[in-house]
């Protein structure tokens, strides 16, 4: 316990500099705006804002990324409440009661409870995060290659089995990601693989280029069909952005129930905030004395999912920071951005750079406070941004993506790669091939292969090592269980 408080103090020392506070503010505002705009969302937001972290020291860069991520989580529900169009998938549930509240002339209360619930979910989620990270990071330091490989397999399998859509398509997406990760010089033997004579591929594919292609530019392409969509927004009818004592009393229970649920769902790879918010909404409705009010402007139906959403984003930081395993598309993009600036999240981050690891955690606490200060008084000016039509916003997103590509390696070849990837991402969306498992596999591919090969060397080529190590066997069993669960769930759904 003492160690945790000492580390947290170190974190506050790192985070509480004027530069970092300014970047938390800037990142938070940009994240809120991007999270709010329909069609973009946190993963795209972090992808196109990667360039702003160039030239920063690792701690400031990581702190800024987290602020963008967190801001996007705060902002996601604004569009759900005001125009019944979610900023991202995790905010779909906020439409159910948020938009009816707006239609009843209670938009101010909806925006206020959304910010307050996000704040409470985030703050309590942070407390869970503070107490869980160090023990997990300490345990992970003892992992050998077999345990790491099995953990990677669990993360990959969980991503496809716990998400929606066909399992086989998820497996296909994962194999595509793993294929891309093997391109280039083999780090262990120096053999060139799958470059087909293209010298620029020898250094392997920078996964951030792929991320910018499939998240930022593909999103621009997908929005080409809705260039002239203009949302009806009556800012005058919002009223005062505040809630009454009665409304707070109604909401506090749902917020406190949603937070642990959201957090633990976030810790699991592949689950994500969308599932957390739906689960919480279903739970609140089932235990409510007035379930008939849900979907008709019940403040509880908005407060709970909003807390779950932000607590989930805290939970998602646990596997990212302690194991180096991103649990969602957004944290995968964050991992990519961090690797670029020389920070490799994982157990060693806590052992070798506790100032960075704990600085980020402290900055998230700070970010949470700054974001509520932004989102309550600035709610009305911020929602005005929803008036910006796609035809004005998309060129800027495209421009930022292009700049991001250039700043990665200053390489002309990256532009060929990013444009091809963007087209592939667009084509994949047409055949419903999921992108997040592919990106996750691409990022984890190198470590997965390396730990697999190290395990094989240790066991003289026998796969039995994966089952002989108890923890490794547990991860493989968990992977099998999550796959089985997904099969049963889909069979029930089909029936």
């Amino acid at each position: 316990m003492q160690e945790i408080f000492a580390n947290l103090a170190l974190g506050f020392e790192t985070a509480f500099t004027l530069t970092n506070i300014i970047w938390v503010f800037i990142g938070g505002v940009l994240g809120t705006i991007i999270g709010m705009l329909p069609g973009l969302g946190p993963a795209t937001g972090v992808a196109i804002l990667i360039p702003i972290t160039f030239g920063m020291n690792p701690a400031t860069a990581l702190i800024t990324m987290c602020a963008v991520y967190y801001g996007a989580m705060f902002g996601g529900s604004r569009a759900s409440i005001m125009i019944n169009t979610p900023g991202d998938a995790a905010s779909i549930v906020s439409c159910f009661d948020g938009y009816p509240m707006t239609k009843q002339g209670r938009a101010g209360a909806a925006l206020a409870i959304s910010a307050i619930a996000s704040f409470i979910g985030g703050m309590i989620g942070m407390i869970f995060l503070i107490f869980l990270t160090q023990p997990i990071a300490n345990a992970a330091l003892k992992f050998g290659p077999a345990e790491m490989f099995s953990l990677m397999m669990f993360a990959l399998v969980a991503t496809i089995s716990l998400s929606e859509g066909s399992i086989l398509k998820g497996i296909i997406a994962i194999t595509f990601g793993l294929m891309l990760s093997t391109i280039g010089l083999d780090a262990l033997t120096g053999i060139t693989r799958f470059t087909y004579g293209i010298r620029s591929l020898e250094d392997s594919i920078d996964f951030l280029v792929i991320i910018i292609g499939v998240y930022a530019i593909t999103e621009v392409y997908k929005n080409f069909r809705d260039l002239d969509t203009v949302y009806n927004l009556d800012a005058k009818s919002i009223g005062k952005v505040a809630i009454t004592k009665q409304e707070f009393k109604q909401s506090i229970g749902p917020m406190l129930r949603a937070t642990p649920l959201g957090f633990f769902v976030g810790v699991l790879p592949g689950m994500g905030a969308t599932i957390a918010t739906f689960m919480d909404y279903a739970m609140e409705k089932s235990i409510s004395k007035h379930p008939e009010k849900f979907g008709k402007g019940a403040i509880e139906g908005l407060a709970g999912p909003e807390s779950a959403n932000n607590a989930c984003s805290c939970g998602a930081m646990v596997p990212l920071l302690t194991l180096g395993i991103p649990g969602s598309g957004t944290t995968a993009v964050m991992l990519g951005a961090l690797t670029l600036i020389g920070v490799r999240p994982g157990p060693l981050l806590f052992a070798q750079h506790p100032d960075i690891a704990w600085g980020v955690i402290a900055s998230m606490l700070l970010g949470n406070i700054i974001l509520i200060l932004i989102n309550l008084p600035m709610a009305i000016p911020l929602v005005q941004l929803l008036r910006i039509p796609n035809r004005l916003m998309l060129p800027s997103v495209f421009g930022l993506a292009i700049l991001g590509t250039y700043f990665l390696n200053y390489s002309s070849f990256d532009f060929i790669l990013v444009m091809i990837t963007a087209i592939l991402g667009f084509l994949f969306s047409k055949i419903d091939l999921p992108i997040p498992p592919m990106v996750l596999a691409l990022i984890l591919g190198g470590t997965t292969e390396q730990t697999f090969r190290n395990s094989m060397v240790l066991s003289d080529g026998s796969l039995s090592i994966l089952f002989q190590k108890p923890l490794s066997a547990v991860f493989l069993v968990l992977a099998a269980v999550s796959l089985l669960y997904a099969l049963i769930k889909r069979r029930k759904k089909a029936a």
Binding site: G55, F176, M179, V457
Partner: protein, 159 residues
């Protein structure tokens, strides 16, 4: 053809090509001899199996019209034209930025993007393009001190 069948055949085809390429990889004479081949072989085999499985299930199941694959080459011709132009512009940007310089190249690509996306607002598009490139140059090149090419207009820049 349904989306699932297309995805299955695509995965099986790509997986097969990848598997064959993996088979042709040279073996090490010492140390981790099969290492560089084993993992790609497993991945290739998994892609072939998943692709074949998806195709097999799809052939047995009757797909609805909603499941038919449609890339929109005919119905969304305008979208594809925009994508094609932006793809060429993006590649050209990468090839020409060192010669033209950051500001000129960025203004050019932003002008292409805005003219395609925000049709009929020439003045607005020129303003957005020029402002975007100058602001990003000041932000990244001057404030964050990233090394950016100045190109053809090097001597004309006041900053």
């Amino acid at each position: 053809m349904s989306k699932n069948l297309f995805s299955g055949l695509l995965a099986a085809g790509v997986g097969l090509a990848y598997f064959i390429t993996a088979l042709l990889l040279p073996e090490q004479m010492m140390g981790d001899r099969l290492g560089p081949k084993v993992f790609p072989l497993i991945v290739g085999a998994a892609a072939i199996l998943a692709g074949a499985g998806l195709s097999f299930f799809e052939i047995w199941k009757k797909s609805t019209r909603k499941d038919e694959v449609d890339f929109g080459f005919k119905t969304e011709r305008d979208v594809w034209v925009k994508i094609a132009v932006l793809t060429v512009a993006g590649i050209f940007y990468g090839l020409s930025i060192d010669f033209l310089g950051f500001i000129l190249a960025t203004t050019a690509i932003m002008l292409v993007a805005t003219l395609l996306i925000n049709k009929g607002h020439l003045k607005q598009n020129i303003t957005v393009s020029v402002l975007f490139s100058i602001v990003s140059y000041l932000g990244f090149g001057i404030a964050l001190q990233l090394s950016l090419p100045r190109g053809l207009i090097e001597n004309l820049l006041p900053f």
